[in-house]
C-alpha cells in the first residue's frame, strides 16, 4: 500500500484517536492537565480493563443496551407504519401533523418528569422516554420519504391494477426504505443517548448510572472508562447499522453509485 492510499482507508481515523490519546497522556504526565480530574489515559484503560473483567461494566452495558434496543424497536414498530400512513393519506397528515410538530421539538429529557409522574421510576417509564425520543426522526423520515415516492412509480402501480394497499406496501415502502433507514440511524443514536440520560437522572443501574456514580464518588478513572465504553458502543452500533443497511439496500447504494 502506498502512503497516499492510507488516506483512503479508515486507518487514518484510528491513527488520529491513538495520537490524541498519546497527547493527552503526555499533557497529564507533564502536569499541564490536573491528574486528579483528568486521569492519564493509561489509568483510564486500566480501570476499563478491570471493570470489564470483573463483569461490573458488562452488566451495566447490557442493561443500557437492552433498554435502548427494546425501546428503539417499539419506536420503529410505531413510526414506520404510522409514517407510511401519514405519507400516503392527506387526511391523516392534516389531522396529525400539527400535533407531531408540537411534540417533536420538545427536549426528551423534559418528558422525564411527566413520565415519572404517570409511570413511576420503573422500566416502563424508561422505555417510554427512550421510545418517545427516538420515534420522531423515524416518523418524519418515513412520512417525508413516502410523500416523495416518484409519481411515475405510483402511476405504474395503478396501471398494473395494484390496490392502494399493494401500492403502499410493494411500491411506496421499498422506495422509501433508504430514507427511512437514514431516519432509523438517527433514531438509534437518540435511543442510546436517552437510555443513558434516563439512567443518569433516575439512577438505579445501567451505564449512565455507572458513570454518574463514579463521578459522585470521585472515581474519575472509572467515570472516564464508562465514557470510553459509550464511544466504543456508539462506533460499533453505527458500524452494525451500516453493514445491515448496505446488505438490505444494496440495490439503492449500487444504483446511486451508477448514477454518479
Amino acid at each position: 500500500m502506498k502512503i497516499r492510499d492510507i488516506g483512503n482507508t479508515r486507518l487514518t481515523g484510528v491513527a488520529l484517536i491513538i495520537a490524541a490519546t498519546c497527547v493527552i497522556e503526555l499533557l497529564v504526565y507533564r502536569q499541564w492537565l490536573d491528574p486528579v480530574y483528568v486521569p492519564p489515559p493509561s489509568t483510564i484503560l486500566a480501570s476499563l480493563a478491570e471493570t470489564m473483567a470483573s463483569g461490573e461494566l458488562p452488566n451495566h452495558i447490557g442493561i443500557t443496551l437492552g433498554r435502548a434496543f427494546v425501546a428503539y424497536s417499539i419506536a420503529i414498530l410505531i413510526a414506520v407504519p404510522f409514517g407510511i400512513l401519514l405519507g400516503e393519506s392527506r387526511i391523516a397528515f392534516n389531522l396529525f401533523d400539527p400535533l407531531i410538530q408540537a411534540f417533536r421539538p420538545m427536549p426528551s429529557s423534559a418528558i422525564i418528569p411527566v413520565a415519572i409522574l404517570f409511570l413511576g421510576i420503573g422500566d416502563s417509564m424508561r422505555l417510554f422516554v427512550i421510545a418517545f425520543a427516538s420515534v420522531w426522526p423515524v416518523l418524519v423520515a418515513a412520512t417525508d420519504a413516502v410523500k416523495r415516492v416518484d409519481p411515475i412509480l405510483v402511476e405504474t402501480g395503478r396501471m398494473l391494477n395494484l390496490s392502494r394497499r399493494q401500492i403502499a406496501l410493494r411500491i411506496a415502502l421499498p422506495s422509501a426504505a433508504p430514507a427511512i433507514a437514514t431516519g432509523m440511524r438517527i433514531g438509534l443514536a437518540i435511543a442510546l443517548i436517552l437510555s443513558l440520560t434516563v439512567e443518569m437522572i433516575v439512577g438505579g443501574d445501567g451505564l449512565g448510572f455507572f458513570i454518574l456514580d463514579a463521578e459522585r464518588s470521585f472515581q474519575f478513572a472509572r467515570m472516564f472508562a464508562g465514557i470510553v465504553a459509550i464511544g466504543v458502543i456508539g462506533f460499533l452500533a453505527n458500524s452494525a447499522f451500516t453493514a445491515f443497511d448496505r446488505k438490505v439496500l444494496r440495490w439503492h447504494h449500487q444504483s446511486v453509485l451508477r448514477d454518479k
Binding site: 416518484d150 411515475i152 412509480l153 402511476e155 405504474t156 395503478r158 396501471m159 398494473l160 391494477n161 395494484l162 390496490s163 399493494q166 410493494r170 411500491i171 421499498p174 422506495s175 426504505a177 440495490w251 439503492h252 449500487q254 444504483s255 451508477r258 448514477d259
Partner: protein
C-alpha cells in the same frame, strides 16, 4: 354494428385547477389499429394518453373500452411510460419487474416467473433476467417495460413517448421491435410522440394535436405497406409527402 372501436373517447375535457389541458376531444381507436398522436410539448397529448389509461379522470366526457365506460386503469390495458428508468422498480431484478406486472392476477408465483421469462425471451433479454434495471442501457430498460406489457397479455398498449430518451440507434431498433410485437400479438396500440417520422413509420393513422387547450386538429391515414423497413420505408415518396403534410398541420 360499428363497435369495432377498442377505445372510444367522447367529448373529453380535462381541466387542471380550472385551466383546460385538453378540450372536447373525440377519438375512436379501432381494434388492432396502431394510432400515433403527435404534437408539441405541452399540447396535452400525455394528458390525453393518461385519460385513455384511466390514470387521469376527465373533467367531462367518457372513455369507453370495448363499449363499456372505464372508471380506473382497466386490466386489459398497459402503459409504457417515457420515463423507463422511473417506471421499473430498482430493487427488483429484470425478471421480477416483468412478473410484477402480474401482481394483480391470480396466478402461482412459478407461473408468473415462467411467463415473465418467456416474454423476456420475446424481447431478446432472456440473458439479462437476473440483472437490475439500472445495470441496463436505456433501450434495454424500455424493452423490459415492453416485456412487462406482453406478460400482462393486454390487448391495448399505450405508449407515452416511449423512445424519446434513448439513443438514436436504439430508437430505430425499438420501433421495429414494437412493430414486430404489435403484429405478432395482435394488439391495439396508441403511441404519443413528438417525432413526425416515428409516427409515420409506425402508425396506421396519425392524429395531430395542437393548441392550448389541446384539440385534435388533423389526421392522416398512413397507407404505407407493411412490413415496414427502416431505410426503405422512410425513402418512399409517400413517406416524404406524409411528412410534409403532417409538418404543415403541426406548424400551420
Amino acid at each position: 354494428m360499428s363497435t369495432s372501436a377498442a377505445l372510444r373517447l367522447s367529448n373529453i375535457t380535462k381541466e387542471f385547477d380550472g385551466n383546460a389541458a385538453i378540450s372536447n376531444v373525440d377519438l375512436e381507436i379501432r381494434t388492432g389499429e396502431l394510432l400515433a398522436i403527435i404534437g408539441r410539448s405541452g399540447c396535452g397529448k400525455s394528458t390525453l394518453l393518461r385519460v385513455m389509461a384511466g390514470l387521469v379522470q376527465p373533467t367531462r366526457g367518457v372513455v369507453e373500452l370495448n363499449g363499456r365506460p372505464i372508471a380506473g386503469p382497466p386490466e386489459d390495458l398497459t402503459v409504457v411510460f417515457q420515463e423507463y428508468g422511473r417506471s421499473l422498480l430498482p430493487w427488483k431484478t429484470v425478471v421480477s419487474n416483468v412478473a410484477f406486472g402480474l401482481s394483480a392476477a391470480r396466478m402461482e408465483k412459478k407461473e408468473r416467473v415462467d411467463r415473465a421469462l418467456s416474454c423476456l425471451d420475446a424481447v431478446g433479454l432472456l440473458k439479462h433476467a437476473d440483472f437490475y434495471p439500472w445495470q441496463l442501457s436505456g433501450g434495454m430498460q424500455q424493452r423490459v417495460a415492453l416485456a412487462r406489457a406482453l406478460a400482462r397479455k393486454s390487448s391495448i398498449l399505450l405508449l407515452d413517448e416511449p423512445f424519446g430518451s434513448v439513443d438514436a440507434q436504439s430508437r430505430l431498433e425499438l420501433q421495429d421491435e414494437l412493430l414486430r410485437l404489435w403484429s405478432s400479438f395482435g394488439m391495439t396500440a396508441v403511441i404519443v410522440t413528438h417525432d413526425i417520422d416515428e409516427a409515420i413509420y409506425l402508425a396506421d393513422r396519425v392524429c395531430v394535436m395542437r393548441g392550448s387547450p389541446g384539440v385534435i386538429s388533423a389526421q392522416a391515414i398512413i397507407g404505407l405497406e407493411r412490413p415496414r423497413v427502416q431505410v426503405e420505408t422512410r425513402g418512399k415518396p409517400e413517406f416524404s409527402a406524409l411528412r410534409r403534410e403532417l409538418y404543415e398541420s403541426l406548424a400551420g
